[in-house]
Symmetry: C2
Subunit: 187 residues, 2 copies
DNA sequence: GTCTATATTTAGATAGAC
DNA sequence: GTCTATCTAAATATAGAC
């Protein structure tokens, strides 16, 4: 694993949290993945809580970058379909571990307050992005459609993970493509 | 909390797992809720793993009963809309703790094998029920629609929980009602 | 800045009296 | 069947040498 020790710890924690959950991941696990001695973790992160916060911030950075990458598409309809194609293409990952951000939100919602806030800000990134696309289509129900799209993705990620079947989210991708095509330019 | 000690332990564990997560819930917590001494838990459940299995079985019983209750409706369209009304009516619970079955599946998917299997059987109950309704409508894409409906519910439960806003799942309920109304009798 | 050794806490699990 | 007291293992966190 490349990068400075802090970067390695954050990336290692992000991967381990996704694969095994936050609660089940020990700092010893993270230290081993990052190839950093256990005791040294505390030089970079005062508590496990602080490490979790850093991981959420790292997720936010990755999601923002991914969404920015979709803005190269010509129009809002193409951008929405590129979004769908992106997550449908990650079916194997969803089948094994679920959506990285969704599973994190699900677990941390049951924990202390400031982590909940950070999670909700993370989940708001793709919703706000999707709403802007629906607004560009002239939809007055853009907020509702944006929530429905992200919920469809999150829900099908959960089913894909629960049944270990990547085909589920791929089939949903095709269905959402047809749905996006069927939307009128204004509502 | 009423019932025999075993029933109290299962119900207490089910509630605590939903509110705080399985990993974060200690047997001491469960014992306190059930008003049973800590050491006595092991008389009824050899391990925490066994208690989790019992809780999943209890969920399966409750879900089956709830779905059976919907079969009093006249036709498949009415049954599907009664299903939607049922979960949209639980918005306050979803906002605080998410869907009981969904959060359980999300957490336990990251754990040992036989719990994953039990969770997938639990999640299959509403999907199979919904597929039968869509089949009764003559839809050849009943399996796809059933997965889409449950995914919409699960995903919107996650968003409702993440943002702590019951209105999200209520709005989705209305949207799904219109969707069910719009489906042709055959596909 | 880095790392080893260890302290502290807490959870799951057990032994055994009643 | 019931309950108290306790064991053991593991995880977070710290102290302090280098």
């Amino acid at each position: 694993m490349a990068g400075g020790k802090r970067e390695r710890l954050v990336e290692g924690a992000r991967l381990a949290f996704h694969e095994n959950g936050v609660e089940a991941t020990t700092l010893a696990d993270v230290a081993a993945i990052a190839e950093v001695p256990v005791g040294n973790v505390y030089y970079y992160f005062k508590t496990k809580h602080a490490l979790v916060e850093a991981v959420i911030a790292d997720h936010a950075r990755l999601v923002s970058e991914a969404l920015d990458g979709l803005d190269g598409q010509r129009g809002p309809r193409e951008r929405l379909k590129a979004f769908v194609a992106a997550f449908a293409g990650n079916g194997a990952m969803a089948a094994r571990f679920g959506c990285p951000q969704g599973t994190l939100c699900s677990e941390l919602d049951k924990q202390s307050g400031d982590l909940r806030v950070a999670c909700s800000e993370l989940m708001r990134l793709p919703i706000d992005w999707a709403r802007r696309q629906f607004e560009a289509l002239g939809r007055t129900d853009a907020d509702e459609l944006a929530h429905a799209l992200i919920a469809a993705y999150q829900g099908m990620s959960l089913l894909t993970n629960t049944f270990g079947d990547p085909a589920l989210i791929q089939r949903e991708g095709k269905r959402l493509d047809r749905w996006i095509d069927s939307l009128a330019e204004t509502s």
